[in-house]
């Protein structure tokens, strides 16, 4: 299935894009999405354990990802 991953700030710069489309297997988790992102050009610049949000909530690497979910990689936050 196809999943779109949103990218922001330094991650968007690293990938050269505000999002990437990935093909992942049904039953995939956040860990699988991250592995697929690392194969993408620029994906080697991701830190060891980036924060990930699924449907606008912080998610664990074990969180399942379904078709239609909003997945986002969250660079270190710097609000305030």
């Amino acid at each position: 299935m196809s999943v779109t991953v949103l990218l922001f700030a330094s991650y968007a710069d690293a990938f050269g894009s505000p999002s990437v489309s990935l093909e992942i297997a049904p039953g995939a988790t956040v860990a699988d999405v991250l592995a697929a992102c690392r194969q993408h050009p620029g994906g080697d610049r991701l830190p060891a354990a980036p924060m990930v949000a699924v449907n606008q909530r912080y998610a664990a690497v074990s969180t399942p990802v379904h078709a239609g979910d909003e997945v986002a990689l969250i660079p270190p936050v710097a609000g305030g």
Partner: protein, 148 residues
């Protein structure tokens, strides 16, 4: 009663924030403003651009306001974060809290800004006087090769 979080693009008005949380049950109001400084980590700053994962940032700001109000009881909490290009002395964040007593108002204000800095998906790119730009990473980790 105000328990809310918002993203804005215009400048933050301290009096307007205070007005929204004031109620006759409250004896103390604490307003925190985060302001763009001229120096960060020894580099001369000319301005800052704030961006966000807007839908999620909004819901995190609201969740923090709600958790803060629940923590201390009978409080009004308003969090406003600005996005876009900010100049020196512009406020990037305004947190207005009101409570019957000042102990709780200070504790609430402090808890709220620390949560915001930890959780809300907002990023800042500093523009330096020497013309360079850099994503700010308060955690000290950075994306290899992305910063100039």
């Amino acid at each position: 009663m105000t328990i809310d979080g918002r993203l804005v693009r215009e400048s933050i008005d301290p009096s307007a924030l205070v007005r929204e949380v004031a109620r006759s049950a409250h004896g103390a109001i604490v307003l925190f403003l985060g302001v763009v400084r001229d120096v960060n980590d020894g580099r001369a700053v000319a301005g800052i651009e704030y961006t966000a994962y807007e839908a999620m940032a909004c819901s995190e700001l609201r969740a923090i306001a709600r958790e803060a109000a629940d923590r201390f009881g009978s409080s009004d909490v308003l969090i406003v974060h600005r996005l876009g290009e900010l100049s020196l002395e512009d406020a990037s964040v305004g947190i207005a809290v009101a409570h019957a007593h000042r102990d709780e108002a200070y504790a609430l204000s402090r808890w709220t800004i620390e949560q915001l800095k930890r959780r809300v998906p907002i990023w800042k790119q500093e523009h330096y006087v020497d013309g360079t730009r850099d994503w700010v990473d308060p955690s000290g980790r950075s994306v290899a090769g992305v910063t100039p």
